[in-house]
Amino acid sequence: MTTQNAPASMYRTTEGLGLWEHKGKVAAVGIGHSPTARRWDGTAGNTLGANSIFALRKAIEDAGVSPDQIDGLVLDPVTTTGAHWEAGDPLPMDVINTYNQTDDPLDGIAKLSAEWLLKNMPELTNVKFTMYGQGCMSHAIVVAAQAIGEGRAHTCLVLKGWHNLEGRYNQGGVSAAEEVSGTYATGPGRTIWGPPGSYGTALQFAEYCRKYGKSHDMMAPFMANSRRNGLLFPEGYWAQHRPEQLTPEDYLAARWIAKPASLFDNDIPIMVSAAYLFTTAERAKDMKQKPVYILNHASSRGRLRSMTPTLDEVQAETGSTGKKILEGAGITAADLSFENMYDGFALFHQFHIEGLGYRGMKFGDALDFYQTDISIEGPNPVLPSGGNIGSGRSRFWMHTDCIQQIQGRAGARSVTGVKPEIAVSGGPMPMGGNFTVWSATPD
């Protein structure tokens, strides 16, 4: 079987669609995470593929189903954190030969197909539906939820894996070339002018600060809160490898990457995989963990006019995304117990939550809100997962946290100032991403 990308029709990208037709009929039950690592160590047991198999088996076990009950698999086949296997680099044949291979030797090492997984998980004997939600876990979740709602699958695994190799972020390949093509040179993207990854977000943040009279140091409480929450996330990178609290002083003293974006405003690339088990609300009732119902999914597909999004473009898009998220779930922002919108880069989290209207926020309010109690113990938790800043670049901590909080399995990270009933997670970018509304009840 050859796996296809999800068709555009599976994403809810426009306002005015009304309630999601499958609201409350799809549920998340099982969760599985691999261990984290900063980079691949070159061994067969710690590849992207191995991590992904580990996470999938954990999710199956966590849900309490037998592997032969699984009939669907949705994943993102693109797994790079910015690290690429350079053309001409020797292939690690000892690692490759450890696994059952597809026709691409880097499958399972620097990319991941559904076919590779099925070849190496012989216990998945009844998978009849596979699909790619390309981008990140936020895409895959949306595709899996829609697939179950439409009856394409009934018990479906959702997976995102990441590989990270030796070398500095995005500094190989075309970045090291003496000459580049004319199309590359005119951008957008890195271009011959050399913007780092966080440059675009830094620009939007700079304009935001000028417009609303805010400053970079106002981010410090948010950053400290995110790392604190991340250190309470035992599946995360910082908790597992570097249990260091980030103080406001550390943050303010950090070196710049693309001023006003500093080192800590950029998430740290890591190796990690995570998987969830989704099923119908009906089937979920009999599984091992409490079902977390999906009330809606919504997607953003903003189009920028020229080289880099302006603040006006960003705010128009996040405002529209917020409306889509709430409309399809049939809720208002006041119904949200907490939010887990994306944060990798830290300097755009405020665009997401202002667009959502979290706790009545309007554009320009978020940095003042960060100066209040945004902790997991308070009435207004901001990013209780800690996000990518708190646990490394996975783009899925926020989804795991929503499920765990509502299931009552978030441990020391549990929100205590609010009852975890309805939450939203998603991303990545303010100009483009996918978002999910989670609930303790189906209606």
Binding site: V180, A185, A202, W256, M307
Partner: protein, 136 residues
């Protein structure tokens, strides 16, 4: 600052040829009367590639925004860090943006909103590229 050399390709060759002649041209859809940058095979509005031309610009603009790059992924630019990286809005159409290192402007002392004019600099392989200088 010497940027990576540029090898013009089919899509962008008119842009680079004009730069070598000291002219700034931007893609324009004659059906929509709409400029677009970066260049693309089709118009971002009507979706057609049949009505695209390269239109001469005045070479005037304003500094819309900027950041300061301290950790650049491009190897050739790393010895020049930190450096300004600004976004220019063209006077011909403020929706159209171009990047600039703002030669002559001190690092992190960028006058947002100031007027700029285009100049042309040689890249590593001699291909010229549009750059922007603050108009005093």
């Amino acid at each position: 600052m010497v940027k990576q050399g540029v090898i013009p390709d089919e899509l962008t060759k008119p842009f680079w040829d004009a730069a070598n002649e000291g002219r700034l041209v931007i893609q324009n859809c004659t059906a929509c009367d709409r400029l677009q940058n970066p260049p693309a095979p089709t118009c971002g509005q009507c979706g057609s590639g049949d009505n695209l031309e390269w239109k001469a610009m005045s070479g005037r603009g304003k500094i819309y925004n900027y950041g300061v790059v301290y950790d650049c992924p491009i190897k050739l630019l790393q010895e020049d860090q930190p450096f300004n990286l600004a976004v220019i809005m063209l006077d011909d159409d403020p929706d159209i943006q171009m990047y600039s290192h703002l030669p002559g402007t001190p690092v992190d002392d960028v006058p947002v909103g100031a007027s700029v004019e285009v100049i042309f600099e040689a890249t590593a392989n001699g291909q010229k590229v549009p750059e922007w200088r603050v108009v005093s």
